[in-house]
């Protein structure tokens, strides 16, 4: 057998290494660097140490908006965790049952919204929920719930929840698919043995299937976390970068956008924006770190 020479390794690694460095590692490192600089009126950048970060976290002008965005982002994440992932699990469990007619068709239909552009999703839901010509009010009136209708996307109390639910609707297909894939990977013999022992389907699910798919649930959690803390597009397409009413739908992504690019007459600052981006990166890094060190280590790999 011919051994690979050093140059073989270099040549085969080079494309991936180059692309990753140029498009991923370098921008990230440069963002980290820019966070320590400030931009003057003339566009010149100079070193100011951690001043951007102290400003972001302690100056009320910045920190109020930042913590508000942070709080909203946590809410946004919790709604996904409490609604999207359980529904995904439920759908996956139902689809993996034996003898479900048209399981493939359901799978496709449920996964379809994920493939649609966020702009389309935002537009469709704005129309559906529109108090002027949306269908939701008349549908609700038909079942006698008409008086409970409200302009949900426009109210401070409900706007964020509504947007989170729209996002859940769009992305529920992803946890469903992942969980489904791991559910059908469970060997039949284990389930059959349990059936022979006389275990009820309910018990089989809770004590056999669920523990076996825990690693996947962990993966879904971390994907949801990363996805939600990087979220931006849905809020931007429905509420714009100023995330109203009264910043009730402002999340870290929109906050970063306003800081970095500016909005209307607000002039953007690439360096302050880099500081916000770095903070978001650290938050996500911390979340992923906690997950890998505290949770993933305890999860056991089952070999069948």
């Amino acid at each position: 057998m011919k051994r690979f020479s050093f140059w073989h390794v270099v040549v085969f690694l080079a494309p991936a290494f180059l692309i990753y460095t140029v498009f991923s590692a370098y921008p990230l490192l440069d963002t980290l660097r820019q966070g320590f600089y400030t931009t003057s009126d003339t566009g010149h950048q100079s070193w100011i140490g951690i001043a951007n970060y102290t400003k972001l976290l302690t100056d009320p002008q910045w920190s109020d908006g930042f913590w508000n965005a942070m709080k909203n982002n946590v809410k946004f994440f919790l709604i996904h965790m409490c609604i999207q992932n359980p529904i995904g699990l439920l759908l996956a469990a139902l689809l993996s049952l034996k003898g479900v007619k048209g399981a493939k068709a359901y799978q496709t239909v449920l996964f379809l919204p994920t493939l649609l552009s966020v702009v389309i999703i935002g537009f469709i839901w704005q129309l559906i929920l529109s108090p002027l010509w949306g269908v939701s009010e008349s549908l609700m009136t038909h079942v006698g719930l008409g008086e409970h209708f409200a302009p949900w996307l426009g109210q401070e109390e409900t706007a964020l929840i509504t947007l989170a639910l729209i996002s859940v609707w769009q992305f529920v297909g992803i946890p469903m698919m992942l969980i489904y894939a791991s559910l059908i990977a469970i060997p039949e013999e284990i389930i059959e043995a349990a059936v022979v022992e006389g275990a009820s389907p309910w018990r089989i699910f809770w004590t056999i299937r669920l523990p076996l798919i825990l690693p996947t649930l962990g993966l879904v959690t971390i994907l949801t976390f990363v996805g939600n803390f990087n979220a931006f597009d849905l809020i931007y397409s429905v509420k714009g970068a100023i995330a109203g009413p009264n910043f009730s739908t402002d999340i870290l992504g929109t906050y970063f956008y306003r800081t970095f690019f500016g909005y209307q007459s607000q002039v953007g600052s690439p360096t302050m924006g880099a500081a916000v981006a770095t903070t978001m990166f650290l938050i996500i890094l911390a979340g992923v770190g906690v997950y890998t060190f505290l949770i993933q280590r305890k999860l056991q790999r089952h070999s069948f």
Binding site: L132, P151, P245, F261, G262, Q264, S265, V267
Partner: protein
């Protein structure tokens, strides 16, 4: 070896043609997506009659993304040769960063009065960096058919305004005022700074704020917020989630009687509404008071300092200062009024009516456009937020005024 040489030759050829394509062609950056057809079918051909060798491309970006993507393109050196400029600080910032050229002494600029150039010059007034293109006038458009049917007259005072709104509401057939707060900007730009102008006496109040002689917490400004807080009962159900697009559709469909709007909306309603359109200026607080209109210098044109084709860009700017351009722009882009000193006959009746307000009312620009937007917190964003909350009934007039004043005082020292 042969192949390599061929590739190199091809590369060089490609680079050369790219370089050639640069000379004699101009690209215009703009946020006026709606005017794309007009530029391509009317304005650029008119320019090409005089300068057939210069190829001009109009490449607009959506208004909400314009500023951020333009900044990115200017920094990256890929922006067009001619840059459509927002008024005041946003463009002043571009000039300070050296991204657009000074236009002092360039041909075309002499055709504009000093008042038009204010929006695109340095604070000391010595350097002009943008050619004024057009202003927009704010007012209220109404459905003449509905007013006739209900036997109503366009109101002159705020009392009359609310009486008219009440009468329309009582009829039960129409929404009195088409206005929503989902997009937020209308609350500031076409409600607060337009309806408010008669309260703070236009320029008088605006300049007093900048000079530090008046505060937002003073009576005229609080009264303007207070007026706004009384509008809610006359808006459509669920107006909190109504976007500007919804508002336009609502009024154009004939289901609403009035819409606070700007002259830029005239062309939309001319094509989409089936009824006759009327307009009246913002009502005054008391009968006999002088009327004030928000006549906002909105669009200018500057030259990218990194442009490879500045000579042609200046030729284009010069042409934009001509009578021909002023006439074409005013009459083809209905609702955008040229700022040049040329005499132009406005053909659209509603546009003409709005332009005639300049004779009977005093003109002012948007309250916060000059200087006040410079600091942090950004006043424009604050005003969007606060005014939407006032309209939504979530904030009182007094609190709104106090919040804006507190934010303003944080960074602004008058006379500096």
């Amino acid at each position: 070896m042969q192949a390599k040489r061929f590739t190199r030759a091809a590369l060089i050829a490609a680079l050369m043609t790219a370089g050639l394509a640069q000379a004699g062609s101009l690209t215009i950056e703009s946020w006026r997506v709606d005017d794309k057809a007009l530029w391509e079918d009317v304005l650029i051909p008119a320019f090409n009659k005089k300068y057939p060798d210069i190829k001009v491309k109009f490449s607009p970006t959506a208004p909400t993304e314009y500023d951020s993507s333009l900044t990115a393109r200017l920094t990256g050196g890929t922006a067009g040769d001619l840059i459509t400029l927002r008024p005041f600080d946003k463009s002043l910032d571009l000039f300070k960063k050296g991204q657009i050229e000074a236009l002092n002494g360039k041909k075309g600029i002499e055709n504009f009065p000093a008042s038009a150039k204010v929006a695109w010059q340095t604070d000391d007034g010595k350097t002009v960096f943008g050619l004024p293109m057009a202003s927009v006038i704010h007012g209220i458009l109404y459905n003449k058919k509905v007013f006739q049917e209900l036997n109503l007259q366009p109101p002159k005072t705020t009392d009359e305004f609310f009486k008219v709104a009440e009468a329309i509401k009582k009829s039960g057939k129409y929404t009195p005022i088409a206005l929503g707060t989902a997009d937020q900007w209308e609350a500031n730009q076409i409600v607060f700074t337009s309806f408010g102008a008669p309260y703070w006496k236009g320029e008088e109040g605006r300049k007093a704020l900048i000079a530090g002689k008046e505060k937002f917490t003073d009576a005229p400004f609080v009264a303007a917020f207070d007026f706004e807080s009384k509008l809610a009962p006359y808006l459509a159900k669920g107006y909190q989630a109504q976007t500007y697009g919804d508002t336009q559709t609502l009024f154009a469909s004939g289901k609403a009687a009035m819409v606070p709007a700007g002259s830029w909306d005239i062309s939309y309603y001319n094509t989409n509404a089936k009824f006759e359109l009327g307009a009246f200026p913002p009502p005054v607080p008391k009968a006999g008071d002088k009327c004030y209109i928000s006549d906002h210098t909105d669009i200018g044109m500057g030259v990218n300092s990194k442009s490879k084709n500045k000579d042609d860009a200046y030729k284009f700017v010069e042409w934009m200062g001509s009578q021909e351009f002023a006439d074409l722009y005013t009459n083809k882009v209905t609702g955008f009024f040229s700022l040049s000193s040329h005499l132009i006959a406005v053909k659209d009746p509603v546009a003409k009516q709005m332009l005639d307000w300049r004779k009977s009312c005093s003109s002012t620009i948007r309250l916060n456009a000059q200087i006040m937007n410079r600091g942090e917190p950004n006043m424009e964003n604050e005003l969007w937020n606060v005014n939407s909350q006032v309209l939504n009934g979530k904030m009182t007039a007094k609190d709104a005024a106090a919040r804006i004043q507190t934010g303003f005082e944080k960074w602004y020292k008058p006379g500096k």
